[in-house]
């Protein structure tokens, strides 16, 4: 039996009916066409599917959609909502060469956001720890770490 739930994604409301076994990743990608969130392994090991739920990073491939009823979800599409300017994290990723194939990028950016929201001035070790659940096969991580540190400087401190 399908469950009627309402997902709040990037500030938009999506009332939908979902089977209880479907993951948040499937619903985002297939039902809501938010394909910026990737699917890399399905077992929570690679982090390509990372999204934020109430500001906390989670693997959307391990999260059931029905549990997300009424929760605030942020995906990569919600990072720069205006569509005109990039989020400082995205800017830093672009300019610092932190992106190669790009498949890990959305998840990396959201893990970075989770970190920087709670720790605006992280050390290199804290950055490495925060993205250690996100695998990247192209960059060797250095430019990603530099980009996150750079983004921390670009993000204005919250009031």
């Amino acid at each position: 039996m399908k469950h009627e739930i309402t997902l709040h994604v990037n500030g938009d409301e999506y009332p939908i009916a979902v089977d209880p076994w479907r993951t948040l990743n499937e619903v985002l990608r297939e039902d809501l066409n938010l394909t910026g969130t990737k699917f890399g392994c399905g077992s929570g090991d690679c982090g390509a599917c990372t999204v934020l739920v109430e500001g906390r990073s989670v693997n959307s491939c391990l999260t059931l959609a029905v549990e997300m009823d009424g929760r605030e979800i942020t995906t990569v599409e919600g990072l720069a909502p205006s569509g005109e300017r990039l989020h400082p994290i995205q800017e830093a990723f672009v300019e610092r060469g932190a992106i190669q194939c790009g498949f890990c990028t959305p998840g990396m950016e959201l893990s970075a956001l989770h970190l920087l929201e709670k720790n605006p001035k992280p050390t290199e070790a804290e950055i490495r720890s925060a993205i250690s659940g996100n695998l990247c096969r192209c960059t060797g991580y250095n430019k990603i770490v530099e980009a996150v540190a750079d983004a921390a400087g670009r993000m204005k401190p919250k009031k």
């Binding site: 990608r29 297939e30 066409n33 938010l34 394909t35 910026g36 969130t37 990737k38 699917f39 890399g40 392994c41 399905g42 077992s43 090991d45 690679c46 390509a48 995906t75 990569v76 599409e77 990072l79 720069a80 990039l86 995205q90 990723f93 672009v94 300019e95 610092r96 060469g97 992106i99 190669q100 194939c101 790009g102 498949f103 890990c104 990028t105 959305p106 950016e109 950055i127 490495r128 720890s129 993205i131 250690s132 659940g133 996100n134 695998l135 990247c136 096969r137 192209c138 960059t139 060797g140 991580y141 250095n142 430019k143 990603i144 770490v145």
Partner: protein, 756 residues
């Protein structure tokens, strides 16, 4: 340098970075078409068996299933990348009569959704007659071993030989000779994007295939032959690709099945692999057994080398024949071997096929060669870096009948790596548990040997110039994450004096981009694709120079230039006009016909291997916990010669990614295969380095000028997959006395080795 180039040598961000940063970049699995069906593959549960009978009737009756196929439904045409030698083409898209590894594709289902397709797979009944199987090269070569393929009764599918000088006489003339056997293991390319393919059949029966591939043209050709269609009735489009590293450079069964089933059902069909399928059944780097004998004079001068390599190829050739050839070539690289002999044999075993993976035979061959060099240095009492410098190749060296080294910064790389790392001091003064080691590499900038038997140039590019000052670059070169679209745009922008924003690029669409390009592998794109772009740009310039020259009635001796958006006489810059005005004028002179040029590159008279070699040296410093045997890599220093650096940020990214993969190869990654079954099928059990595991590094580019490459550029970043394992192995030896001759280096092996 600053004056010479406007945009070459600059940290230009990738042209697709914003699309990737915002999640807008669409990879194949992100695509959806109306009425699209989802495909799944039924794979063999047995390593070697005859197929007696397949019953698909129950699967076909399941509601939602639209198509079920087995090998019997297909045209049964074998394929393989070595089209030049059809006997090497040993693979069917779906098994015919026999399966040869656990995971061999037996049947395919297309259904309205993935769950239905998976349920249908369970309803297919296959009766197998199990056959004896072999799981390593020794078993496969035994007299009583079962043959995997009728055409290869010995299980040796192909052998390659290289020989020059007189090896036996060389050993007789040597003061010091040593023989060693090395083994290396299987690792996964581990690209983040699982393979995915989406096929659409047009109303007129033609196929369009979007697929995660490094080689759209190869897929187009082999798909045509396996479907019994004409090449140009197939259009292959490469969308954004999430990495390949060699693992996506062949036709694959799901590409065939998507196309075949789209034709059969009239509906689009998409296949996307799971990570478990990728790790268990996907292409991997060849395990090898390497026997190497090497002879030196007392003073360290190399005299001779004899190398025999057995490649554990798995069930099919895949790119094994090329790896067989190349590991022999790399065995002779880096140093001057006056006498050299190589025999490589590619052996079938009942395992998932090995194929190309970053380095293409070099990481295995150079692990053996560089480790042996370090062992020889110790016994000869010569510093390992000094021994290398003594024998190092230099610009102008030749491998008889095989290759010419047209640019080489190897000695400078060794010196720089030694300097940066504080080599001399650390080699002498380290306390037990700390160690430092060196490893080196050389690599190709694309292959010369035309195994695919292409009838087109190796690379081609088309440039269309417009009166509004923009140009359109069309190329079949495939950006799979390495950044080739950006680099090709930089080369074009430099040649035409334009900005990156003035160039539109369309790449890797076989119906739109110029025939042909063999794709992304063997580090061929910058040199070959870049050469084609440069060639096309120069044809455009020729026309513009004539036009502007005529307009200003210039003396024919004037040199002309395209720079900063203008076309002008070099000595009299005021005699010129904007690029757009020059194009408009040229177009007028052509009575409206637009200005279009096609450029190409094919290596000719460049030996058998590659038009250009890169070189480099790497030093690793480690600390080994003598209680647990756990290796902690403290720092990596790399000096590499990649010719002219077109985009330093991209080159650094390649280098850092190589170290990540090289450390995994040395220390943590290994596909554990037991009786033909790959046991570690998740990223939890297949251990790639995380951000926390990566050591810091320092690097320097030794700039040389490669005459064959665009602006002097050559390979960067693939060769660097090789030096890390031997460098770390030597550092571990320096720290503990344990000498690794069988990768990977594990705590168990270290502890056992230390007790001796």
């Amino acid at each position: 340098m600053e004056d010479r180039y406007s945009i070459i040598g600059k940290d230009v961000p990738r042209n697709d970075a914003v699309a990737k940063a915002t999640g807008a970049a669409a990879y194949t699995d992100d695509m959806k078409l109306p009425g699209m069906l989802h495909g799944k593959l039924l794979r063999s549960p047995l390593p070697h068996a005859r197929i007696r009978r397949i019953d698909t009737s129950r699967a076909e009756r399941l509601p939602g299933v639209k198509c079920v196929i087995t090998g019997e439904d297909t045209p049964k045409v074998k394929y393989g990348n070595w089209r030049l030698f059809p006997t090497t083409q040993d693979e069917y898209p779906l098994a015919v009569d026999k399966v040869r590894f656990i995971g061999d594709e037996v049947a395919a289902v297309a259904a309205v959704d993935v769950d239905t397709a998976l349920e249908a797979l369970e309803l297919i009944r296959v009766e197998y007659e199990e056959l004896p199987a072999v799981f390593d090269v020794d078993a496969a070569l035994a007299k009583t071993a079962p043959a995997l393929h009728e055409a290869s009764p010995t299980n040796i599918s192909i052998d390659r030989k290289i020989s020059y000088g007189d090896v036996e006489r060389g050993f007789s003339a040597s003061d010091y000779v040593r023989e060693d056997t090395f083994t290396v293991h299987a690792v996964s390319p581990g690209y983040m994007e699982p393979c995915s393919s989406l096929a659409l059949c047009d109303l007129d029966g033609r196929i369009t295939l979007w697929t995660s591939t490094q080689t759209p043209y190869i897929v187009q050709c082999l798909l045509a032959s396996t479907l019994g269609m004409r090449e140009n009735d197939i259009r292959v489009i490469k969308p954004f690709v999430g990495g390949g590293f060699g693992g996506k450079m062949e036709l694959r069964p799901w590409e065939f099945c998507a196309a075949f089933m789209a034709r059969r059902t009239g509906r689009p069909v998409k296949f996307t692999l799971t990570r478990q399928e990728e790790l268990c059944y996907g292409r991997r780097r060849h395990p090898m057994k390497l026997w190497s004998k090497v002879g030196f004079k007392k003073d360290g001068t190399l005299v001779a080398k004899d190398l025999k390599i057995l490649l554990d190829g798995g069930a099919y050739n895949a790119m094994g024949p090329t790896a067989t050839f190349l590991c022999g070539n790399f065995g002779a690289m880096l140093y001057r071997y006056p006498n050299y002999r190589f025999l490589g044999e590619h052996v079938y075993t009942n395992k998932a096929p090995a194929s190309a993976m970053r380095g293409f035979g070099a990481p295995q061959s150079l692990f053996a060669a560089e480790t042996q060099m370090n062992m020889a240095a110790e016994e000869l009492g010569i510093d390992p870096i000094e021994l290398r410098i003594k024998n190092a190749m230099v610009t102008g060296d030749e491998i008889p009948g095989v290759a010419t080294i047209s640019s080489c910064g190897f000695i400078e790389s060794l010196q720089e790596a030694a300097k940066m790392s504080g080599w001399k001091r650390k080699r002498k003064n380290f306390k037990a548990g700390r160690g430092i080691g060196v490893g080196c590499y050389s690599f190709i900038s694309g292959g010369v040997f035309n195994w695919f038997n292409t009838q087109y140039p190796f690379s081609a590019a088309e440039v269309r110039a417009f009166a509004d000052g923009t140009v359109h670059l069309l190329t079949m070169a495939s950006d799979i994450g390495q950044g080739s679209d950006t680099v090709l745009k930089q080369i074009l922008a430099e040649e035409l004096g334009l900005g990156m924003e003035d160039i539109r690029i369309t790449s890797a669409d076989t119906a739109m981009t110029p025939q042909a390009d063999l794709g992304t592998w063997g580090s061929r794109v910058t040199l070959m694709g870049g050469g084609a772009v440069q060639n096309a740009a120069r044809k455009i310039k020729e026309e513009l120079f004539g036009t502007v020259s005529a307009r200003f009635d210039l003396n024919v001796i004037f040199e002309m230039e395209c720079r900063n958006g203008r076309v002008y006489a070099k000595g009299k810059p005021e005699r010129g006009m904007t690029f757009g005005e020059a194009v408009a004028l040229a177009q007028k002179a052509r009575r409206g016909e637009p200005l279009v040029a096609r450029g190409y590159y094919t290596p000719r008279d460049k030996g058998l291997v590659t038009p250009a070699f890169s070189f480099g040296a790497q030093v690793a410093e480690v600390e080994v916990d003598r209680e647990t045997g756990i290796v902690s890599v403290k720092k990596m220093w790399t000096a590499h010669d990649c010719g002219t650096v077109i985009n330093p940020m991209a080159v650094e990214g390649q280098l850092e990614g190589s170290i990540h993969m090289g450390l995994g190869y040395a220390l943590s990654e290994e596909l554990q295969v037991e009786n033909g079954r790959t046991m570690n099928n998740t990223f939890l059990d297949y251990k790639m380095f995380t951000a926390e595991d990566m050591p810091p590094g320092e690097s320097v580019c030794i700039e040389t000028y490669e005459p064959e490459g665009p602006m002097g550029a050559k390979e960067a970043g693939e060769g660097l997959a090789s030096p890390t394992a031997p460098a770390v192995a030597e550092a571990v030896y320096h720290a503990t006395g344990y000498r690794c001759k069988d990768l990977p280096i594990t705590p168990e092996k270290i502890l056992k080795g230390m007790k001796k």
